[in-house]
Symmetry: C2
Subunit: 130 residues, 2 copies
C-alpha cells in the first residue's frame, strides 16, 4: 500500500504520515523504487494515531499508547493512567478558558461599541479599573 492509499484510509495527510515516520512513530518498509510500503499493521497503527490525536493526545502520549497497544501483556492501568492524565489537562484547560470567557464577556458587555473612543476594554487593558 502506497502512502496516498494509507493516507486516505487513515484520514491523515501524507505529509503527516511522513512526519510520523521522521519522529519514529511508524517505519514502513520500502519498495525497490524507494516508495514507502504500508502493510495492514501499519495502516492500523495510523488509524490508531489519527484517533488518538483527534482525542487530543500529545505525540508523546501517542508514542506511549502505541507501545501499550502493541504490548499484549500491557496492564490496562497503564493505559488508563495516560488517559486520565490527559483528561486532567483537558479539564484544566477548560477551567482556564472558562475564566477567560467570563472576563471577556464582562468586557464585551460593558463596551457600548459605537463610534466614540471611550472604551472599558481599553481601560481594562491599560490597568484603569472600571
Amino acid at each position: 500500500m502506497n502512502i496516498g492509499m494509507v493516507a486516505s484510509e487513515s484520514g491523515l495527510p501524507a505529509k503527516t504520515i511522513r512526519y510520523y515516520e521522521d519522529i519514529g512513530l511508524i517505519t514502513p518498509s520500502r519498495l525497490e523504487n524507494g516508495y514507502r510500503s504500508y502493510n495492514q499493521q501499519d495502516a492500523e497503527k495510523l488509524r490508531f494515531l489519527q484517533r488518538a490525536r483527534s482525542l487530543g493526545f500529545s505525540i508523546e502520549d501517542c508514542r506511549k499508547l502505541l507501545s501499550l497497544y502493541e504490548d499484549k501483556n500491557r496492564a490496562s492501568a497503564d493505559v488508563k493512567a495516560v488517559a486520565r492524565k490527559h483528561l486532567g489537562k483537558v479539564e484544566q484547560k477548560i477551567r482556564e478558558l472558562e475564566s477567560l470567557r467570563g472576563t471577556l464577556n464582562e468586557l464585551v458587555k460593558c463596551c457600548h461599541g459605537d463610534d466614540r473612543p471611550d472604551c472599558p476594554i481599553i481601560n481594562d487593558l491599560t490597568g484603569k479599573e472600571a
Copy 2:
C-alpha cells in the same frame, strides 16, 4: 528605565520584551552603550501587552489593540469587535474541549485499570467499538 526594570514592572520576561521589539510591537530608544531605554509610555504599552496576552489575545490581536489604544479617535466598536471575535474563539475552543472531556471521561470510566491487558481505551483507539 532598563529592560530588567520594565520587565519586573510589567510582569513580562526580558526575553519576551526583546521579542516584542523584534516583531515591531514596541521600539524603545537606546542609550549610548546600546542598552534599551524605556520611558513611561513604553512601560504602559508593555503592561497593556501583558494584560492582553494574559486574556489570550493573539499577538496580531495585540498589535491591533495597541494601535487602537494609541488612536485617540478610535471607535470603541472596533475594540469591541476584536474582543468579541476572540471571545468567539474561546467559546469554540471550550466546546471542543468539553466534547473531548466527555469522550475521555467515558473511556476512563470504562477501563477497569488493573494489570490485565484488556482495555476499552485501546479498543476505542483501534476502532473496535465497545
